[in-house]
Symmetry: C2
């Protein structure tokens, strides 16, 4: 296994096909137009962000920390003792608008509060901005807005500002929703990829792939959804419980586009550490596993919308797992299956390795593009 | 002239056709689907917001203040002496993406910092979230992103967090950009429609209608744009100058969708005051005036993207005008034509009246829909 650095992984010459994509055409990153794969959470999106957006937007920013789910706003207007402001944004273009376990409205609220929670921030306020397609049914809009309200109520956050634009029929797709969120990171909380270090335990909060497989099933009419619901939900309460339990959490990441694999690859690259996973410990429910097998998908890459991965010191691993179990027993969902799935190592920095039951290993890499478009 | 209250203006039975719209079909607010007019900044948008969004989103909000360009985040985490947090969001769907005087990128930065400035807030940070249509040229994206960076540099604000989604060809329109902004309202600054009171002078920062007519001209290939550029620009410096000059500004509003007329109608309704305008004082440049005449448009309703209206106590009116002139002499644009255009009165609360040179008057009402779709 050759060690790969963050720098190398961006080079054009480094385009060995992903095993999981062998049956798909490999998109050419050199092409001069935007591809669906640029939105897929994989290598092409990473490259778009690092090569096009960050050089412009970091030019006048003092922020040189690794990219994280939320940005910390540097301001001397707020006294250090009051905490730090976290700020995040996400646009939701999921298709279809409604699916078992949620809809674009609840997804838009949970997605953004989860990004705040990943920085250890308590949500203070959300914005909601709509792009509506001419002809959209008012009933659909009403249902989505009511769903946003219920999700915001559950989390205990207010949607305080908004915007509505309408685009011509055929220039949008029903509803797109942007939610931005402002949160407060309590004094003393420091959760960031930069704190991940060899020896840390890698823990997931539940089984993988429900959201992606649910969307895929509804979209393609596959009929799996009788057994499946999206895991779409808030991680705010779970993170509060983690912080209260004081396990010295080093890093949190929610597992959205690109799934567990992409989240871990990014953290391994940003923190310049290796990550070793035990395949047999990774929780995947039976319906997701069989759907993945049927569709030729790898559940490690399938999107989730209510799962996180936590990095904690080895000695806190069992206690953290207990905190997860206790939280789900008290507040649900009761069928979450949190698990310790691996360890951070100082070998092969920037790389994630998956060890199977027999001790064999394979590299878990960023996909070039995506397995499924418009999953969130 | 019959006085109209805010409540009445929302009733279905109160649909007298707008004079400015006599030649267009009047959209039916009862229809059960989203119309282009719901995004136009007029009565249909107001009704969508008040009847559909606010009842849901205010349900769990402590915010009962009249809607404003930015929301103030209530939190006891920040000591009162540090100021108050302002938060705003705006999605930009302007078509075409580029126009004389700007593009969707600069518009997205200026639009959101202007909304912060209207609350008297200094911008702390922006987010940028993109919905890209598959097939969009990378060169176009690069130019738009560079334009955002230049605009942010000019304003002195950083774009600290972002998101990128890609939608299938034919489900978007090139680029949509959401920018959300967080700002800090300095202690002691209180700028809000609630402070507008009879006797206040009404002052615009420059001539009206450039942005709307420029977009219309480019879109329809009318060829006016040799004489015209959008007024798209930042109002942050101008508002700083106003606050430093300490004129006791009661309210500020930037004149975007729906133009001056819609901004004033909303403020009259929210503050429960009348507004009387002097038609001959309202600045409109010759090219905008002739384009409006040709197209049958009323410049009072045409969009601007770098103009504001200020409400100040009568005794501060001339000094405020001087502050505007001094600011434009020092920092440009040198062809801005600020003007005192009217007065707040205690007659006909909720209504804006336009007096012509002969002393005759007409009511300036919210349009049902819009004069021009996708202007911002």
């Amino acid at each position: 296994m050759s060690a790969r650095t963050r720098h190398k992984s961006k080079k054009m010459s480094d385009q060995s096909p992903d095993p999981a994509q062998l049956s798909c055409p490999v998109p050419d990153e050199n092409r001069d137009s935007v591809q669906m794969a640029h939105g897929g959470g994989g290598r092409m999106m990473k490259s778009l962000i690092e090569d096009l957006f960050l050089p412009e937007f970091n030019a006048n920013s003092s922020n040189s920390a690794p990219p994280h789910d939320s940005a910390i706003i540097s301001t001397d207007a707020i006294p250090a003792g009051a905490g730090r402001l976290a700020f995040t944004t996400d646009t939701f273009v999921v298709s279809p608008l409604t699916f078992p376990g949620g809809d674009i409205g609840s997804l838009a609220v949970y997605g953004t509060v989860n990004d705040l929670a990943m920085a250890g921030a308590k949500p203070l306020a959300l914005s909601a901005a709509f792009v509506l397609e001419e002809g959209l049914s008012m009933d659909t809009l009403r249902r989505v807005v009511a769903s946003m309200r219920r999700a915001a109520e559950e989390v205990g956050v207010s949607i305080v500002t908004g915007d509505t634009k309408v685009v011509d029929r055929g220039k949008g797709d029903g509803i797109f929703i942007n939610t931005a969120g402002v949160g407060l990171v309590p004094p003393g909380v420091a959760i960031s990829p930069a704190r991940v270090e060899p020896g840390d335990a890698v823990i997931v909060s539940g089984d993988l792939g429900r959201h992606g497989i649910t969307i895929m099933s509804v979209r393609e009419g596959l009929g799996f959804e009788s057994d499946l619901r999206s895991d779409c939900g808030s991680l705010v309460g779970l993170v509060s419980a983690l912080l209260e339990a004081d396990h010295d959490v080093h890093c949190l990441r929610d597992l959205t586009r690109g799934g567990l694999a992409s989240a871990l690859c990014e953290i391994a690259m940003d923190a310049k550490v290796g990550i070793r996973l035990r395949e047999t410990s990774i929780p995947v429910s039976a319906p997701v596993a069989s759907a993945c097998e049927l569709l030729g998908l790898d559940p490690l890459y399938v999107a989730n919308e209510g799962r996180l991965v936590a990095f904690v010191p080895a000695q806190a691993a069992e206690q953290t797992l207990k905190t997860f179990h206790d939280y789900f027993s008290a507040f649900g969902p009761s069928d979450s299956r949190p698990a310790i799935i691996g360890t951070v190592v100082d070998e092969h920095p920037g790389t994630v390795e998956l060890r199977n039951a027999l001790g064999g290993g394979r590299i878990v890499d960023l996909l070039s593009g995506e397995q499924m478009p418009r999953i969130c």
